[in-house]
């Protein structure tokens, strides 16, 4: 059993890792055909992952409701809305509109999901303003630099700021294009090198945490 649980997955990872890293550099039709087939598998697996995610969500919240844990009422609301949406979605054949006429599923999408998600995102502006007032203080030299940069970018990104201080637009562009881009690039390169190192470790079986912690 250890062979099936450990050695086989490690072998599959090793072979597919090396083959697909090499595939990128081989433009032969057979190599391209192989990539086409594998991406189709990926799409199919992606579909199953969705089912797995939904069933896992149901399972977690079912336990909460059964045990009457704190906030179980929210889990109940989740159950009702999810089952309701699935039922209406299946009934509407997954379409929000048919020949320009809104279906029940479209009604749920347009008049519940869109405003709810929009509201969640919109209230961020209020919390950001409140948090900025409470915590954006020039406590140190670094914090002062950050504060000045933030004020310049905030001024430079809106017409009123450019109207009041015409230089703020160009200054904000410079901050974004030079200071921000160079630092971001350094972070990106670091992250990419880390990803390459981790991939090599996974391919050659040095990193095995993805296999899970089951009994040997």
């Amino acid at each position: 059993m250890i062979f099936l649980r450990r050695q086989v997955p490690l072998l599959i990872t090793l072979i597919t890792g090396i083959v697909f890293a090499a595939q990128y550099y081989v433009p032969h039709p057979a190599s391209e055909q192989m990539l086409t087939s594998v991406t189709k598998w990926l799409q199919i697996i992606g579909g199953f992952a969705l089912v797995l995610g939904v069933s896992s969500l149901f399972h977690v919240h079912a336990i909460k409701i059964r045990r009457k844990e704190a906030g179980w009422g929210y889990s109940f609301v989740l159950y009702v809305s999810m089952l309701g949406t699935i039922a209406v979605g299946l009934w509407s054949n997954g379409k929000e509109a048919v020949d320009g006429t809104m279906t029940a599923f479209g009604w749920i999408y347009n008049f519940m999901m869109v405003p709810l998600q929009g509201t969640m995102f919109a209230i961020l502006a209020f919390f950001i303003a409140s948090a900025a007032y409470r915590s954006f203080r020039a406590r140190s030299r670094e914090a002062a630099v950050l504060l000045i940069a933030a004020v310049i970018v905030m001024m430079g990104r809106v017409p009123l700021g450019e109207y009041l201080i015409p230089l703020s637009g160009d200054l904000s562009q410079w901050i974004l294009n030079v200071l921000n881009a160079s630092v971001r690039r350094a972070i990106l390169i670091g992250v990419s090198l880390g990803t390459v190192a981790l991939s090599i470790k996974i391919i050659f079986g040095m990193e095995r945490s993805y296999l899970g912690g089951g009994k040997e």
Binding site: L35, N110, M154
Partner: protein, 281 residues
């Protein structure tokens, strides 16, 4: 408790009220300040302008309703521009929760511009797999999307004539609110299948995409509501983004004023504490 201390611990509902007014008043009484066009937004506009009629324009609406206020106006402007230039438009999404919204915006703008589904444009909808969908489209477009959103087989659609994969796309723009989005389109799409790419994103995401812009990995970037307002200005069709710029101006200014006030009180308190320390010694 001193005045400065009380002001630093001000009830946050007052701040909410200030932001609420700063958002609402400019929407009711717009000022319409001029909007300066940035080079990154002009990059997208100029490239679409340079495309000959019938070129293939792919628009991936990779966002959900949470980012609608910023990315919806971008999508409308880009679609209006592409349809006006008589480009063949392929629209799609990598975000399942954005499918209905994407369909609505594409259909609405197409109807407004007198374009026909299947002939002038196609909405492919969503397919599972995230970034794998991009690779699959790069290998075989019809394998990734055998049918469009309305269930019509994609093979044989006049709008897709001569298109086999992403290699045949003249220009792609991803309007992304996260992952998969602009970066995924570069890493899994442009880098391998060699098409020109640009991005559109929410305001908070824009600074993270500047390295791609500076290195030429994307040839333009539409950032947030401001970017959308710039694009609306460029195509000469005022929309929700230009209308929202006054509100954004006012809220930005309100936050700046709040931050300055908070720092003034903070320094006055610090000075007070230092003076008390000296007199105590």
């Amino acid at each position: 408790m001193s005045f400065a201390e009380r002001m630093l611990k001000i009830d946050r509902r007052i701040i909410f009220l200030v932001i609420g007014f700063c958002t609402l008043l400019p929407l009711l009484y717009p000022v319409g300040l001029p909007i300066k066009i940035s080079p990154e937004v002009r990059g997208v506009y100029d490239y679409i302008e340079s495309l000959p009629e019938g070129s293939v324009f792919l628009l991936s609406l990779d966002f959900d309703p949470a980012s609608k206020p910023e990315l919806h106006p971008q999508a409308i402007s880009l679609l209006r521009h592409a349809f006006r230039k008589n480009l063949r438009v392929i629209a799609m999404t990598l975000w399942v929760s954005g499918t209905g919204m994407a369909d609505q915006v594409v259909t609405q703008v197409a109807r407004e511009m007198g374009k026909e589904s299947g002939k002038d444009y196609v909405f492919l909808g969503w397919s599972p797999g995230g970034t794998a969908v991009i690779i699959n489209m790069g290998q075989d477009l019809y394998g990734a999307f055998p049918a469009d959103y309305n269930g019509k087989p994609t093979k044989g659609l006049p709008v897709l004539q001569g298109i086999a994969s992403l290699r045949d796309v003249s220009y792609a723009v991803s309007l992304g609110a996260g992952n998969p989005g602009v970066e995924a389109w570069y890493v899994f799409g442009k880098d391998k299948y060699k098409f020109e790419l640009a991005g559109g994103c929410t305001g908070v995401m824009a600074p993270g995409l500047y390295p791609l812009l500076r290195s030429g990995q994307i040839n333009g970037l539409i950032g947030g509501l401001r970017g959308a307002a710039e694009y609306e200005t460029l195509i000469g069709q005022k929309g929700k983004a230009i209308a929202g710029m006054d509100a954004q101006s006012a809220t930005h200014l309100a936050i700046i004023v709040l931050v300055i006030i908070c720092n003034l009180f903070y320094f006055s308190l610090r000075k007070q504490a230092t003076q008390q320390g000296h007199s105590g010694a």
